[in-house]
Every structure is written in structure tokens, then in C-alpha cells.
């Protein structure tokens, strides 16, 4: 080939290569075009090999032109390769795209347990009255659970309820608390008067569960200690609670009763919220016995370092399970702990 023909071929290949690269629709086609345009057996390769037959000056001139064309085509190839790679990724992303408009699949919805409902209601009532929530450990020692509450070792009340003892080496006399009353002691030990607390919690007795008793159940305890607290304060507070829980028309009555940590002590009945107090299957004689209460025994105050001449107080405690079975007409207390979803669904999320 003469030099002028080589130059023409060079120009043709420049245009041909650009077109081929630009028209490659995929990375595979681009690779094929690369081989055809820039490969050893391409026309450009032939031109390069023909350079050797030329004289010095022509060879230098043409070599320079070949290099320019090569560089230009290599750049075009690279540009196209980049473009095609981006396209391929976009295509891949497009193929894998999530349809954000599809509706989701719903899991089954839980509901608030009836015991939690009742506890929240009672605690909420007292929070609005300005009380604060207090808590204590479920494993108690003998002093907090009994002795500080005016139940010494030789007190007949110790046989009134059977306790569950916990065996931990090095810690004698530990038991699962039988009442939330121990929280009274822990609270008074940790702060000076005045005290206005409500203490919900789990308690344990050695008892065989039946329709109206559980071995593990819940209580809410309230304690007020301040100057000048009287039985009238207790009465007003309990009336407010009974009306808050069971409706505005409720009346309460006091029957003398005995708890070692209060004096005097009383059992509190509320007029039946179903029949209004005339008598029905829920209540029997019109009254529902709801809780135990009384004025804090001076010895209990003194056990916690309070001045029983200056401060007086009242305390009461009620069983959450008992309120729940009354309020929701649950025939058997054990239903509350069986975890049967059909039962729990009745108390759908409020």
C-alpha cells in the first residue's frame, strides 16, 4: 500500500470504529467491536504493520497519525463502555425494583391483658390524686414481710397465710412476698414523711388455685402518712376509688376486721355495681367485699423510724384479680393466667 492509501484507510477506520462503538448495544457487542477495530487482525493493525515498509520521514508522519487514531478510538471505546455499564446496572435495578404501592400483610394484633387494664385504671386514679408509684422486690426478707409489719415470729397471724420460702445459701429467711405491704416499709425507710404512694405488684401464697384464688396474684397497696391523717381521710379516699372504679353511685361500708399492721382495721364493701345494692347473682346481698384497710399501726411507723406521735396514716390493699373478675364478669380466676387467646381477645386493644 502506498502512503496515500494508508492515510485513506486510516480515515475510513476512524469513522468506521466510531460508528461501530457508538452502535454497540451491549457490553458483549462492544467487546466484539473492540476486537474488530483495534485488534491485531483489524484494518488498523494492517496499516500499522505496513508502516515498516515506508521510508523514515513518511513512517514517522504516518505513525503519528496511527497513534492519534488509536488514541481517539480507545477513548471512544472507553466512553461507550462506561455508558453501557451504567445502563446495565440501571437495568438490573429496574428488574429488581420493589413495588412500594403494594399493601402490606398485617400480623395478628395483641391486646392489653385484663389485669394490666385494671392495674392501670387503679394506679391512674391515684396518680390523678397526686400519689406516686412505689415498688419493691418480690423476694423479701422476714423483717420487711412480717416483723416490721407488726407480725412477730410468735404471732398467730403467721399461720393465717402460708408462705413460700426461698432457699439461697447465705441468705436465711427469704420468702416470696405474701403482700405488697412490704413496699410500705421500704418506702418509709427511704424517705421522710409525707408519704402518698400506690404500690402495684405480684404476691405469692402457698395455695391451691381455684375459681376465686391463685397462688401467684397481684395487689395494689396504697399508703398515706402525714400529719393529721384520720379515718375520715381513709373513708373519702376509698369512696373516691370505689366510684372511680365502679361508677359514681357507689356507696361503701366498713366492717371491723383485723390486719396486724393497722389499728383499727376494716373490711370494705361496695354497693354492687350491677344491681345497685338490692342483691343479684354477682353480689348476693347487694354488697361486694372489695378490700382490707385501716389506720397504720403506730408500731409500724416506729419500725420505720417515723414519729408515731406526730404522724398518722392509713393503708389499704386490694386484689387486682378480684376486681378483674368482678368488673369483667369472669367466672373463674384461673382464666386470667391460662393465656387462652380466645379469652384474651375479648379485651381487644382499647
Amino acid at each position: 500500500m502506498d502512503p496515500s492509501e494508508l492515510l485513506r484507510t486510516l480515515e475510513t477506520e476512524r469513522a468506521h470504529g466510531r460508528d461501530l462503538f457508538a452502535s454497540a448495544a451491549s457490553l458483549e457487542e462492544l467487546d466484539a467491536a473492540n476486537t474488530a477495530v483495534l485488534g491485531r487482525k483489524s484494518r488498523l493493525g494492517e496499516v500499522q504493520r505496513a508502516l515498516g515498509t515506508l521510508e523514515e520521514a513518511r513512517r514517522r508522519e504516518l505513525g503519528k497519525a496511527v497513534n492519534e487514531v488509536r488514541a481517539e478510538l480507545a477513548a471512544a471505546l472507553e466512553a461507550r463502555r462506561n455508558a453501557l455499564t451504567v445502563d446495565a446496572e440501571s437495568a438490573l435495578l429496574a428488574a429488581d425494583a420493589i413495588d412500594m404501592t403494594l399493601p402490606g400483610r398485617r400480623g395478628p394484633e395483641g391486646s392489653v391483658h385484663p389485669l394490666t387494664l385494671v392495674e392501670d385504671e387503679i394506679v391512674g386514679l391515684f396518680l390523678r390524686l397526686g400519689y406516686r408509684v412505689a415498688e419493691g422486690p418480690e423476694i423479701e426478707d422476714d423483717w420487711h414481710n412480717f416483723q416490721a409489719l407488726n407480725i412477730p415470729e410468735d404471732h398467730p397471724a403467721r399461720t393465717m397465710k402460708d408462705s413460700l420460702y426461698v432457699s439461697i445459701p447465705g441468705h436465711p429467711e427469704l420468702l416470696l412476698r405474701t403482700e405488697t405491704s412490704a413496699v410500705q416499709i421500704r418506702t418509709m425507710q427511704s424517705q421522710p414523711p409525707p408519704v402518698y404512694i400506690v404500690a402495684p405488684g405480684r404476691v405469692y401464697r402457698r395455695e391451691t388455685p381455684d375459681a376465686t384464688h391463685l397462688a401467684v396474684f397481684h395487689q395494689v397497696e396504697a399508703l398515706v402518712v402525714d400529719e393529721g391523717i384520720t379515718f375520715a381521710d381513709l373513708k373519702g379516699t376509698l369512696e373516691a376509688m370505689a366510684q372511680g372504679l365502679f361508677g359514681e353511685d357507689r356507696k361503701i361500708r366498713f366492717t371491723p376486721s383485723y390486719f396486724p399492721f393497722v389499728e383499727p382495721g376494716a373490711q370494705i364493701g361496695v354497693t354492687c355495681f350491677r344491681c345497685g345494692g338490692v342483691g343479684c347473682p354477682t353480689c348476693g346481698n347487694g354488697w361486694i367485699e372489695l378490700l382490707g384497710a385501716g389506720m397504720v399501726h403506730p408500731k409500724v411507723l416506729e419500725n420505720c423510724g417515723y414519729d408515731s406521735e406526730r404522724y398518722t396514716g392509713f393503708a389499704f390493699g386490694l386484689g387486682i384479680e378480684r376486681v378483674a373478675i368482678l368488673k369483667y364478669e369472669i367466672p373463674d380466676m384461673r382464666l386470667l393466667i391460662e393465656g387462652d387467646v380466645r379469652f384474651l381477645e375479648r379485651f381487644g386493644a382499647a
Binding site: E153, D154, H155, P156, A157, T159, M160, T255, P256, S257, Y258, P260
Partner: protein
């Protein structure tokens, strides 16, 4: 505690009915859980005299009794024949009702003989658990034609009272009567504690020594000579049964009756089986042994209080008596114990042995130290219509 209303009325003579009285007492802390009528199912049973008992013509076991009732005679077939001509017995005529049967009695033919109603055992009348034979009635207490229910005072209610540990006074009929009298305004009738005393000095009969005055500040002993082992009067048996205590015989019943009445636990020893005879109240020594009435050999510690005679332990103080000095059918003379034992000691002993008795239940809640003497007198002369016994007293 179960309190029959007739008994309560002996000390608090109120005219109020059971329900009215309960309504007054409950708000005062007498936690009456139920007003029961154990003899509700008893109606129309009358006292009759047995005229003749002859063999049933068609049976080896049955017999035919001819009886005289208030307005004539009747015949009936009976399964036992412990009654004899002349005896007074309870008869449920056709139409009458007894607690153990759901239907009223009727006239039936039993193996070819017309049988009119039935003669009743104590169990059939809910007077005691005795079902060994027909109840033979007391000739002095009742007459032919009397209504049995009225005649024995079985027509009243029984209060079932839940007693909280702070009111041990309600563990007695008299304690509940005291509250009832205060509540209704009637005058409380004092306990009659008069005793027909013997002339001999009691110190000759028995000595009492207290080595542990803290555990036993008071010990009253009464010697009763020549006791009779016969059933208690039916009214007494019925009251014991209504209170949930099994009638045994007049001696044992007297101690239980006095305890239910006064709240003071009593114990009866066979005086002849007490060495000395003397009583020593002392702490046990470690490892000392005592066979209690429930036939369990108890190993004692220095914390347990013992009642001993001159030689050996005879009772676990305030909890349970011992076998060796137990009253039996052969007992002629009895030593009655009426003591005050410290609450704490009885409670801890009873708890350690898991031995809870009517006595320990009362002692561990606290008895009245002033009641010892009166209760001893009550159980020494319990059943007045039957004639007094002769007694002498020693106390320490």
C-alpha cells in the same frame, strides 16, 4: 367458732331472731359467715314409750315394736332392738321429717307387717355420730307426746363465726354473748361458778408446783371424785355436735363444754394414774419423750412446756394430753386442769409439732387468766339437771 343461739341466749337473753342479731353483731366485728340451721330438716318427731318389742314373723334380724304416743298406740318395724318396754324413744310418725332423709316418713309394709314411721338413732337426729342403736331418752327430761325438737332445744340457729386473731374472746359462747349483750342492751348473765365442795382438804388430794412461772403463771386444779361414765344429757350432746365437737361421755364432754362456753381449754387426767398425786409444770429437757393422745411419740426440747406428775411428763402444756394419764371408762377420780399458758410458748410448740388443737388454738391467741377458776368450776358441775358432783379444789 360455732355458737348455737339457745346457748348464747342463756347469757345474753335477747328476744331478737338469728338474722336480726347477726345484722347487729356483724358490724361490731363478730364476723358471722353463715347462720346455719342443723335441725332444719327435723320436724314432727315426738317422744313415745315402748310397750312391747317382739320378733318379726318373717325375719331373723328385724323386730316389731308397739309404742304409746300422745294419743294412742302404733306399731312399726325396727332394725335394732336396744330398746326395752318402758323406755322413752324418739318416733318419727308418717309425715314427720328427719335430717338424714330427704322425704317425709310414710307407712310401708316391711315383709308383711305394716310399719308406721321409724324410731331414730342419735345420728338420724343430728344429735351425735352414734348410730349403734335407737336413742333412749331420759325419763326425767321428757314425757310421752313431747315434741323432741322443742324438748331438747333443737329448734334454733347456729352462728358460724370467723374469728380473727385479735378477738380470741369470740372463741367462746360467753365471749360472743358478752358482745351481743353490749350490742342489744340486755344484761349479761354472770356465769354460775358455784360448786358443791367436799369437806376434805384439797392439799391431801393433789399438790401443784410451778417451776416455770413465765410459761405458766396460773394453774388451777380441781379433783372430782366418783365420776360416772354415762352419756351426757341429749341437749348437751346436741350442742357439742352443733359446735363440731364429738360427744364422748359425761366426763370428757364436761371439759369440752366448759371450753366452748368460757374459752378456757380444760384437760382431764385420771387422778389415780398420776404419780404423787401431784402436778409439776416445768420445761422439758432436751430429748425427753412423751406419747401424746394421738399415739405419736414426741421428742421434746427445752423450749417445750410440760405438765408432769411426781415422776414423768403427762401432757404437752396447752397442746395435748399424754396417753399414760388419759381418762378411760375405769376412771373413778378426775383431776381437772384449768391453766393459763403463755401465748408464745404454746404457739411455737404447736407449730413445731404441727399439732393444732382446740386448746392450742385458744392458748396461742391468748386466754383470760381470770377465767381459769370459773371454767374449772363449770366443768366440775356441768349439767345441773343431772345432779351435782362432789369436788375439791387445789390451785397454784
Amino acid at each position: 367458732m360455732r355458737v348455737p343461739l339457745t346457748w348464747l341466749r342463756e347469757f345474753a337473753p335477747t328476744d331478737l331472731g338469728a338474722e336480726q342479731l347477726a345484722e347487729i353483731l356483724i358490724p361490731r366485728g363478730v364476723l358471722i359467715e353463715a347462720v346455719e340451721c342443723p335441725w332444719e330438716g327435723l320436724d314432727g318427731v315426738v317422744v313415745v314409750r315402748v310397750l312391747e318389742v317382739r320378733d318379726h314373723p318373717n325375719s331373723d334380724k328385724l323386730c316389731v315394736a308397739r309404742i304409746q304416743h300422745g294419743s294412742g298406740e302404733a306399731e312399726l318395724v325396727v332394725g335394732v332392738r336396744n330398746m326395752a318396754p318402758g323406755d322413752l324413744v324418739p318416733w318419727a310418725p308418717p309425715g314427720a321429717r328427719v335430717p338424714v332423709l330427704t322425704e317425709p316418713l310414710a307407712t310401708r309394709r316391711v315383709r308383711g307387717v305394716d310399719s308406721n314411721g321409724m324410731l331414730c338413732s342419735p345420728r338420724e337426729l343430728a344429735i351425735s355420730q352414734d348410730h349403734s342403736g335407737i336413742l333412749i331418752l331420759d325419763q326425767e327430761e321428757l314425757r310421752v307426746g313431747d315434741d323432741l325438737k322443742r324438748g331438747l332445744g333443737l329448734d334454733e340457729a347456729v352462728f358460724d363465726i370467723e374469728v380473727e386473731p385479735n378477738r380470741p374472746d369470740f372463741l367462746s359462747v360467753y365471749g360472743v354473748a358478752r358482745e351481743a349483750a353490749a350490742a342489744t342492751g340486755v344484761k349479761l348473765v354472770p356465769l354460775d361458778t358455784s360448786v358443791d365442795e367436799m369437806t376434805d382438804a384439797v392439799a391431801d388430794a393433789v399438790t401443784v408446783r410451778i417451776d416455770d412461772p413465765a410459761g405458766c403463771p396460773r394453774y388451777v386444779a380441781r379433783a372430782v371424785r366418783g365420776v360416772a361414765h354415762r352419756p351426757s344429757p341429749l341437749g348437751v350432746q346436741a350442742r357439742l355436735t352443733a359446735c363440731g365437737v364429738r360427744p364422748i361421755d359425761a366426763v370428757v364432754d364436761a371439759t369440752n363444754y366448759a371450753m366452748l362456753e368460757t374459752g378456757q381449754p380444760m384437760h382431764a387426767f385420771d387422778l389415780d394414774r398420776l404419780a404423787g398425786p401431784g402436778i409439776v409444770v416445768r420445761k422439758a429437757s432436751d430429748g425427753e419423750r412423751l406419747l401424746t393422745l394421738d399415739d405419736v411419740e414426741r421428742t421434746l426440747t427445752t423450749k417445750d412446756l410440760l405438765i408432769c406428775d411426781a415422776e414423768k411428763p403427762v401432757a404437752l402444756a396447752g397442746v395435748m394430753g399424754g396417753r399414760t394419764s388419759e381418762v378411760s371408762e375405769e376412771t373413778a377420780d378426775v383431776l381437772l386442769e384449768s391453766a393459763y399458758f403463755a401465748r408464745s410458748g404454746v404457739l411455737l410448740t404447736a407449730r413445731r409439732f404441727d399439732l393444732h388443737t382446740e386448746a392450742s388454738h385458744r392458748f396461742e391467741r391468748g386466754t383470760d387468766p381470770e377465767a381459769c377458776s370459773g371454767a374449772a368450776a363449770r366443768s366440775a358441775t356441768p349439767f345441773r339437771p343431772r345432779g351435782r358432783r362432789r369436788c375439791s379444789t387445789a390451785s397454784g
